[in-house]
């Protein structure tokens, strides 16, 4: 397929690997921010092909993995109600909340549906005028415009039985939270390509300057990742700390202005708790007052229970790149994709799930 196959060419990958080896003279630690990149790195074994001097840390860029337990508890509470059709991306259904996950709600008779797009839930809303349709709005900047456009379409088409449970999060504040941590070992970032497709990379320029760290906006195919690593190492070896754009076929400095206009028409920046990282200031998107009627958290009278998390799970440390999944005592034994204890084992982009799928034989 155009724009995919050519970026998986093994001879070209070899050439990039040789160049990375030639450039690397010292030990360097790079974090790939996005879970999609983690998945590709583990799947193609890119981390194992790199020189020993280079360590890749897996970042917090999986929206399923960072959605706070209290938000999942709210989703479970809404989905359990009579008369509600609860729509969500599939990965979210098996993430454990304090008591149960959404799939259990479904098994107990709740109407929980897996959708591909927030627009699917608008369609369900039109087809079921006597039901309340709620969409679980998780995601990063990449998914924010789809959520915002669904709200605008609901307003335009006067669909009154649709609400959104907003759980959108923003990536740069999370990168900064990682950098501010004293235990931070990250010396360079591969920034998440599709987040930047939407919002561009101007904001990263401040981060690169403030923390003197190279940031390379990187795509998701093996060649993209190898080129991104190559560009990061070239900067590190020269002592540079700039923002560079490896993924220029999909990303411009300004990003998609139309998408940003739609996002900020509907949403405003709010504080948001992240699973494993705690509350991060100005790191989420919530509905603006004028769209408050579309906010499921207002629409339903919610009882907040006590939030409980599995104490054995170290996914918070995995999300910060401080531990590898295989260092978790429960990995592959008490915690598996069939019986996940943490969100990083549920999502296909979670580091634990990627290690389980591609590395289990070697790590167990």
């Amino acid at each position: 397929m155009k724009y995919l196959d050519e970026y998986r060419d093994s001879a070209a990958a070899e050439r990039y690997l040789r160049e990375i080896k030639r450039l690397t003279t010292r030990e360097w630690t790079i974090m790939e921010v996005c879970g999609g990149q983690t998945h590709a790195i583990v799947k193609y074994g890119i981390d194992r092909l790199l020189p020993d001097k280079i360590t890749l840390l897996h970042g917090p860029g999986c929206p399923v993995c960072v959605t706070a337990v209290e938000l999942i508890d709210r989703a479970v509470e809404i989905a359990s109600r009579e008369n509600v059709i609860f729509c969500s991306f599939g990965d979210m259904l098996r993430v454990p909340g304090s008591d149960k996950d959404l799939l259990t709600v479904k098994a107990e008779g709740g109407d929980v549906r897996m959708v591909y797009s927030p627009l699917d839930s608008l369609k369900i809303a039109r087809e079921n005028p006597d039901k309340e349709i709620v969409f679980f709005g998780i995601g990063f900047e990449t998914t924010a415009p789809a959520n915002a456009a669904a709200v605008l379409q609901a307003q335009q088409k006067k669909i009154t039985n649709f609400t959104l449970l907003p759980a959108l999060v923003l990536i740069p504040p999370a990168m900064e939270a990682i950098l501010r941590d004293n235990a931070c070992r990250v010396q360079g970032f591969l920034a998440a390509g599709h987040v930047c497709t939407v919002v561009g990379y101007r904001e990263y320029e401040k981060l690169a300057e403030k923390y003197k760290i190279p940031i390379v906006v990187t795509g998701f195919e093996p060649l993209d990742i190898l080129q991104g690593i190559c560009m990061t190492i070239a900067q590190l070896e020269k002592g540079k700390y700039e923002v560079e754009n490896q993924y220029s076929r999909a990303v411009s400095r300004e990003g998609n202005l139309k998408a940003q206009e739609i996002i900020y028409e509907v949403f405003e920046v709010v504080n948001r708790p992240w699973r494993g990282l705690g509350e991060i200031l100005s790191s989420g998107l919530g509905l603006r007052d004028k769209y408050a009627v579309f906010d499921a958290a207002n629409h339903f009278d919610l009882v907040t229970g006590t939030v409980r998390e599995d104490s054995e799970c170290i996914s918070g440390l995995v999300l910060q790149g401080r531990k590898k999944p295989s260092e978790c005592p429960a990995f592959g034994t008490r915690c598996t994709p069939e019986n996940p204890m943490g969100a990083t084992m549920v999502s296909s982009e979670g580091a634990c799930a990627a290690y389980y799928r591609y590395r289990r034989k070697q790590t167990l």
């Binding site: 030639r22 990449t142 789809a146 335009q156 993209d224 490896q246 076929r249």
Partner: protein, 84 residues
């Protein structure tokens, strides 16, 4: 989750920017995709699609840069490692 897949616009329907859609082919599989975020997109162009929305058009000239850099490496015995 942030997976976005490239596809080619076969046709465009609807005049209203917010509800405008396109039939987009992903290597032969055709889906109806919202073009609300890419009002300037044209038939024949490639878009990156995520959660039912085209989030941007793909730039053909820029797409070659990854290979251009490689060709430069091949041409020189002493590659510089500078810029792509």
């Amino acid at each position: 989750m942030c997976l976005a897949v490239p596809g080619k616009i076969l046709s465009i329907a609807g005049a209203d920017e917010l509800t405008c859609t396109g039939r987009v082919s992903f290597g032969g599989i055709v889906k109806e995709i919202s073009l609300a975020l890419v009002p300037e997109a044209k038939v024949g162009e490639f878009v990156l699609v995520h959660a039912g929305f085209a989030i941007n058009t793909l730039d053909e000239n820029e797409a070659d840069k990854t290979f251009k850099y490689l060709r430069e490496l091949e041409e020189t015995d002493e590659p510089t490692g500078e810029e792509s």
